[in-house]
């Protein structure tokens, strides 16, 4: 079981850059996919899968594993890139078949096809509810496993997220950490112009959560916040990390650009992006 490898921040940053590169290669090869929200999530995925998470790519269904529900299933390129680097499968197969017919690597993550994917998602707003259910089930079994729900910010416009937020507080779900990838952009534009989410932290606090706001690209801040969320288990209160991120992070011409939510980079754009990420 990989657990607390205590990798230096610089190494985790490099792995995040690898996630970004492989994600963009796959999107380019598929000529479709979601680069913006994949790049914003990469550092969080790196800290989780290469440092803090209890998991074993050789035994993806081991009982002792932590569970990660990735509610933003459109970030599939970053998720596959992460799982590939972790050793769940051959990265080349992912890059060459992503979004192609009969591939394991569907546009939105599919648990029945790809080892390491806990829950098939894609339709936004489901993940926190499912994560609550997993956490409640693990609690009934007195399991030590921890549950993570990785959410997008735009999906918090779905009412179901707040039903789930209410539930986590009501059932005092302490073995769960929610992480919101607050990249501030959704398909149609800025979240605050499309359907305002702020004051977001106040909303979670009002729903009974402990909130930690961090820089979602700062490796040590991500790590500290997640470790802090474990300590909160004793307080029987759900914990959310609002990770302020930049959509398209790491590629200058993609950063903070609405248009890179769901567009594939062309060959020359990919080349430029890969140089910037190296």
């Amino acid at each position: 079981m990989n657990y607390m490898k205590d990798l230096p921040a610089e190494k985790l940053h490099q792995l995040a850059q690898e996630i970004r590169k492989n994600a963009l290669k796959a999107i380019n090869n598929a000529n479709s996919g979601h680069p913006g929200g994949s790049l914003s999530l990469a550092d969080i995925l790196s800290v989780l899968y290469f440092d803090l998470l209890k998991h074993d790519p050789q035994s993806p269904f081991s009982k002792e594993r932590d569970r990660v529900v990735i509610s933003k299933g459109h970030a599939s390129p970053a998720i596959y890139a992460t799982l590939g680097l972790a050793g769940y499968f051959d990265t080349e197969e992912f890059i060459s078949t992503f979004r192609k017919i009969n591939s394991k690597f569907q546009g939105h993550i599919d648990r029945l096809k790809v080892p390491g994917v806990e829950v098939s998602t894609g339709s936004l707003g489901h993940g926190l509810s499912v994560a609550n259910g997993i956490a409640l089930g693990l609690r009934l079994d007195n399991s030590d496993s921890h549950v993570y729900a990785l959410m997008s910010d735009g999906e918090l416009q779905e009412g179901q997220c707040w039903e789930a937020a209410m539930t986590a507080a009501h059932y005092k779900i302490g073995n769960l950490t929610a992480i919101v990838d607050r990249n501030r952009i959704q398909l149609d534009g800025w979240t605050e112009q499309t359907m305002a989410l702020e004051p977001l932290a106040d909303k979670f606090i009002a729903f009974g959560w402990t909130v930690e706001i961090i820089d979602g690209h700062n490796i040590s801040e991500i790590k500290k916040a997640i470790q802090k969320s474990w300590q909160r288990e004793k307080l029987d209160k759900p914990f959310v990390i609002i990770a302020n991120t930049i959509k398209g992070k790491g590629v200058s011409f993609m950063e903070d650009q609405v248009k890179w939510h769901g567009v594939s980079p062309k060959a020359d754009e990919l080349e430029k992006a890969l140089i910037e990420l190296s």
């Binding site: 829950v119 489901h126 509810s129 499912v130 956490a135 409640l136 079994d141």
Partner: protein, 327 residues
């Protein structure tokens, strides 16, 4: 005989009540069984399980979408969740969660929904779902079961629990006659039973319409017509062989269901016959004629919406006339 019926019916029990009893009866044998409800545990009869097994019961409040996705998560952790609410909300309000959180994930969630159909009664149209069988059956990987009485309900709940994968179980509000003998009743997913044999016309019925179809068969017998009655409790998968075998003999069919005629079980049966049956088989339908329900007593509603034994018998005579004309 599997599915043998009791000759002298005694007493009536609602299928929702039998469901609540089944949960309690199965709880000790299956520790992974957990139950969710959406503020209707008094009406769905999950309340008794909640009292006896509070740590395995989750009241999710009035939030059915969240309930279904939470049930998916519980299944992901190895539990066997039964999620209950009125059928209107468990299947209608939460359809997309049933489709994506549960079925697309192939999670082992059982949706046992009560108060289906117009016989929900006085609460009226907003709560009377006549579309649930259609919208559940259309989802890949979903199994759809509709018990006819309390005995079958208990058998179905146990089979659903043992079956790996998503199941929708349609339950009703009103007390309905106990028609099956618990001592020799058997239920299998994908299997239908002929519960009364006859050579002239086949009546394929489900849910509350099964006991009404048996009443219709008695009325027809008085006119010298021998009706065969099939209990179509396994809607998906449908037991095509039993249907085809029966209509192969009778060449006349009536389907009776407390559901919208549009996209109802009658159309699944119709497709089965048109694709497989050789020869002419006139078909009649007793179902809700594509209109919303309304408030009323159960008897008044069944009469207003044409779901009585007289309606089934009249439909049977109609198809028999068509058969006669064709021969």
């Amino acid at each position: 005989m599997a599915g043998a019926i009791i000759e002298n019916q005694t007493g009536k029990i609602a299928t929702r009540q039998a469901y609540g009893e089944a949960l309690v009866e199965l709880a000790d044998q299956f520790p992974e069984l957990v139950v969710l409800d959406a503020d209707l545990s008094g009406s769905t009869y999950t309340g008794k399980f909640a009292k006896l097994y509070p740590e395995r019961f989750f009241n999710m409040g009035i939030a059915e979408q969240n309930m279904i996705s939470t049930a998916a998560g519980l299944a992901a952790s190895g539990k066997i969740p039964f999620a209950s609410s009125f059928a209107m909300f468990a299947t209608g309000r939460a359809w997309e969660q049933v489709r994506n959180s549960v079925a697309h994930n192939d999670f082992n969630v059982k949706i046992a929904a009560t108060h289906a159909g117009i016989t929900l009664g006085e609460d009226g149209a907003s709560h009377q779902i006549i579309e649930d069988i259609a919208i559940m059956s259309v989802i890949p990987k979903m199994t759809v079961l509709v018990p006819a009485d309390a005995v079958e309900t208990k058998a179905i709940i146990k089979k659903a629990l043992l079956h790996k994968g998503p199941v929708y179980i349609r339950l009703g509000r009103p007390a309905v006659p106990v028609i099956f003998n618990p001592d020799n009743f058997e239920f299998e997913i994908g299997k239908s039973h002929i519960i009364r044999e006859g050579k002239d016309v086949t009546i394929a019925a489900l849910g509350i319409m099964v006991s009404i179809a048996l009443e219709a068969a008695v009325k027809l017998q008085e006119k010298g017509i021998e009706a065969e009655v099939i209990n179509l409790s396994s809607v998906k998968p449908l037991d095509k062989a039993t249907i085809l075998k029966s209509v192969g003999k009778t060449n006349a069919l009536v389907v009776a269901e407390e559901h919208n005629q549009v996209c109802g079980v009658n159309q699944m049966v119709s497709a089965c016959i048109s694709q497989n049956h050789i020869g002419y088989c006139p078909m009649g339908v007793v179902a809700v004629d594509d209109r919303f329900g309304q408030s009323g007593t159960i008897d008044a509603l069944l009469l207003e919406y044409g779901l009585t034994a007289d309606h089934i018998a009249a439909e049977a005579e109609k198809v028999l006339n068509l058969k006669k004309k064709a021969s």
